[in-house]
């Protein structure tokens, strides 16, 4: 699948405020095309710097989507992102819950 959205290279406390509107825009966009797709796919390969604040923003996006019955799909997460998710016990961000698709 072609990812229409992509994460920036830096997702840290210094960029979190800048990226909040972008995430909100994605959320709105995904709501408009709800019938089409219940997954918001985001290209995550560019991330080279992330901290807990950046990760928290992704969790927030994921929670917002889940609340609306959709989910976040991080496509080809960079090693830095994967490591950070595992380190903070947020590996669920990386998993693709295939079961849901099957249902």
């Amino acid at each position: 699948m072609q990812a229409p959205h992509a994460l920036p290279d830096e997702l840290t406390i210094f960029t979190a405020s800048e990226w909040l509107p972008q995430c909100q825009a994605w959320l709105r966009a995904s709501a408009e095309e709800a019938e089409v797709c219940e997954v918001l796919a985001v290209d995550a390969q560019a991330v080279v710097e992330i901290d807990a604040a950046g990760l928290q923003l992704l969790l927030s996006l994921s929670n917002s989507l889940e609340k609306a019955g959709r989910r976040l799909d991080l496509l080809s997460p960079s090693p830095v992102l994967s490591d950070a998710c595992c380190a903070l016990g947020a590996a669920s961000l990386l998993c693709r819950p295939d079961t849901k698709e099957a249902a």
Binding site: W19, L27, Q56, L57, S60, A87, L88, G89
Partner: protein, 697 residues
């Protein structure tokens, strides 16, 4: 950008570090002194190690290599003591105290590259820790790496599984703390087999502030590190981190660490220790959460409150004039609330005096050693609270009195034994509340004041006429006269003749008083009485003619209302009256302050207690209790005796506030006992039983 921001954050946080490092250093000193009395106390040893460890750890974060390098040696030594490898000796204790001074010096001199730790002290620390001087010389390792090494070295038990729950505070990110880095650090302590983030607690995009932290983590940590070391890892997450660590299981068959639940708001350990230092035992307690408030903000509130109290009594007076019950009732309610706010606000400024007292442990220890005397210091009532400003300003006079007692009061062991006393002298610092005042006592069981020497010196110095022999109490009071010193041998501690008079003027500037009592050969006791606060008092309003005066309510012992006045007063308005068989001085304000209004037929006497003395004040009218906001006297009135301040009444009138001690001196007239008192007083409601037998000095 990140680098710049890091620098900014470090620059911003440095003052907080300096303050914390100083607190830790103070705590270290107190704990060290407590340890001297109880050398095997593991809790103290643990607390000491943590102090040094915290200083070193935080200094490492700020890249203060000199502090880290030196503290490392202290920490190593303390670690060996904690393990029981090294036992505390007096020499070691002195070495550690000196090292602590150096840490303090290095911390204060962080901006000055010239300030370095004395190499000989470093060598002595290394020797004490049985380290070859060449193997680990000086000022290297500074970063977190060395901290990790310490953790690895200091393991004494086997590997334990801990369940760690941590909830970061909202300001965690803003404080420059990244939980990701923190967990990476914790990971270096051992192994984290599982970690779960409390993802549902992260708000959705519409509700989130991306710069606030909403993260909570639960993980298992298999580590050989101790509970303290794990807790220490979260130290920099500071006040706003909730941390719960519980042991899951012990892997090795060695003895397990005390498996208790350590739940604490990971605040600087120094505060626990500081309270512990004055209260005795140290232990993990809940910090209760502190907010640092700038003192001037608090002062603004107190000033406004003063105005509110004045406005409130004005409104009450107006309400009374209208005679509308509902309005009066409403006003009474407002007054009660204002009183409540007043009390709570003044409490905000109250701090226990124990911290100040505790500082003297070191002074006593070092001074006694320097003078070759054995002295034990006892601190009583350290929890007594008084205004912060007062605590700060009383520290210097206390310091002088303590040094004086050590230098002049207490004898050497040989002198004491010759006098039939135990070799160790005893110095007691005590504080308690007494009738709206704080009473601070400095007691020693030394040789006492030698009155003949004092008298001789006073003659020599021309303080009194040669040959004149005043009463005992007056001789003692000569000590407070300017330019007085009895030291046979002028030491560098005291005895320069600057001191006791300065002590007295400092105390009096705080609206306090200082007195001395002494028994030759038995010791001396200096009493300092201070008001609780400098801002507001409960006053008792009295009227003489058109003038209004306020007596501090706490000093009013009883009131004898509406008696006919028959006493004759001298030109200073002084007389005596009888109260239940005792003669007390009586002062007539009308004569004393030359008030014009004609005397009424009936007057009242307010019996005032000032220290151990009582006296009567003759007034026309008793106007009741009054919340009094103390305003300083203007320049012109500052020399007015017997008065300490002024206050504005609700009606806009000005009332003078009496200083009961100096008014008492005006009332007392030891030279001339006047003609038999005529104002005889019948049954009153006694508040205290009179035990007056002294003559008034």
């Amino acid at each position: 950008m990140t680098q710049e921001s890091d620098d900014d954050i470090i620059r911003e946080m440095l003052p907080a570090f300096l303050e914390e490092a100083n607190e830790q250093s103070d705590a270290l000193e107190q704990l060290m002194l407590e340890l001297e009395a109880d050398p095997g106390n593991q809790a103290l040893l643990g607390a000491l190690f943590r102090c040094a460890h915290t200083i070193k750890g935080s200094a490492g974060v700020f890249g203060l290599d000199r502090v880290v390098g030196f503290t490392h040696h202290v920490e190593t030594l303390l670690d060996l003591m904690r393990e029981g490898t090294i036992v505390l000796t007096p020499e070691l204790s002195t070495l550690l105290l000196q090292s602590n001074d150096v840490i303090r010096m290095l911390v204060q001199g962080v901006h000055d590259d010239q300030i370095v730790a004395p190499q000989d002290l470093v060598l002595r620390l290394q020797q004490a820790a049985h380290m070859a001087p060449h193997s680990d010389t000086g000022q290297q390792d500074g970063s977190a790496k060395s901290v990790i090494e310490v953790f690895a070295n200091s393991t004494t038990t086997g590997s334990v599984s801990w369940r760690v729950e941590v909830r970061f505070g909202v300001d965690t990110f803003r404080h420059g703390i990244d939980p990701l880095t923190l967990i990476a650090y914790v990971r270096s302590l051992g192994h984290i087999p599982d970690i779960v983030c409390d993802t549902p607690s992260v708000p959705t995009l519409d509700a989130i502030d991306p710069e606030s932290c909403h993260l909570g983590l639960v993980f298992t940590l298999d580590t050989e590190a101790s509970l303290e070391e794990i807790t220490d890892a979260f130290k920099f997450a500071r006040e706003d981190c909730e941390l719960i660590i519980t042991p899951e299981r012990v892997h090795a068959a060695s003895d397990a660490p005390p498996a208790t639940q350590a739940s604490q708001a990971a605040a600087p350990a120094a505060r626990h220790q500081r309270t512990g230092a004055t209260g005795g035992a140290t232990g993990a307690g809940d910090d209760g959460g502190f907010i640092r408030v700038q003192a001037d903000r608090l002062d603004d509130v107190i000033n406004l409150l003063g105005e509110l109290v004045i406005a409130g009594s004005g409104a009450s007076a107006l309400a009374r004039q209208t005679q509308q019950r509902a309005l009066m009732e409403a006003n009474r309610h407002v007054t009660r609330l204002i009183e409540g706010i007043r009390n709570s606000t003044l409490k905000l400024r109250m701090v226990p005096i124990g911290d100040t007292f505790a500082r003297f442990r070191r002074v006593v220890r070092d001074t006694a050693a320097e003078l070759g005397k054995e002295v034990s210091l006892e601190i009583v009532g350290g929890e007594t609270e008084l205004d912060k400003a007062m605590v700060e300003r009383i520290a210097d006079p206390l310091m002088h009195l303590v040094r004086n007692a050590l230098d002049h009061g207490l004898e050497t062991a040989a002198q004491r034994q010759a006098a039939g006393k135990g070799p160790q002298g005893k110095l007691t610092l005590s504080a308690c509340h007494e009738a709206g005042n704080v009473l601070i006592r400095i007691m020693d069981d030394g040789r006492g004041v030698q009155r003949d020497k004092v008298l001789q010196r006073a003659w020599d110095r021309g303080l009194i006429t040669r040959g004149a022999v005043p009463s005992d109490a007056e001789i003692l009071n000569l000590i407070f006269a300017p330019g007085f010193s009895t030291a046979e041998q002028v030491t560098n501690l005291s005895g320069r003749g600057v001191g006791m008079d300065v002590v007295r003027s400092n105390v009096e500037a705080l609206r306090g008083s200082v007195t001395i009592a002494s028994d030759t050969g038995q010791g001396s006791c200096i009493e300092i009485r201070l008001p609780l606060t400098l801002a507001i008092i409960d006053g008792f309003l009295v009227g003489v003619g058109q003038s209004k005066f306020i007596l501090p309510l706490d000093s009013v012992a009883e009131v004898i209302a509406n008696r006919s006045t028959e006493a004759t007063f001298d030109s200073h308005g002084r007389s005596y009256f009888e109260l239940r068989g005792q003669f007390l001085p009586l002062v007539n304000l009308r004569t004393l302050y030359a008030l014009d209004a004609p005397p009424p037929k009936l007057s009242s006497v307010v019996v005032v207690r000032a220290g151990a003395h009582r006296y009567g004040v003759l007034v026309d009218a008793l106007l009741g209790q009054h919340q009094t906001v103390i305003k300083p006297l203007g320049l012109m009135l500052r020399s007015l005796r017997g008065v300490s301040g002024s206050s504005i009444l609700g009606t806009g009138e000005v009332a003078l506030i009496f200083d009961t001690t100096s008014l008492g001196q005006l009332a007392a007239n030891p030279q001339a006992m006047p003609s038999p008192p005529k104002l005889s007083v019948g049954a009153t409601s006694p508040i205290d039983t009179p035990h007056l037998s002294e003559r008034h000095p």
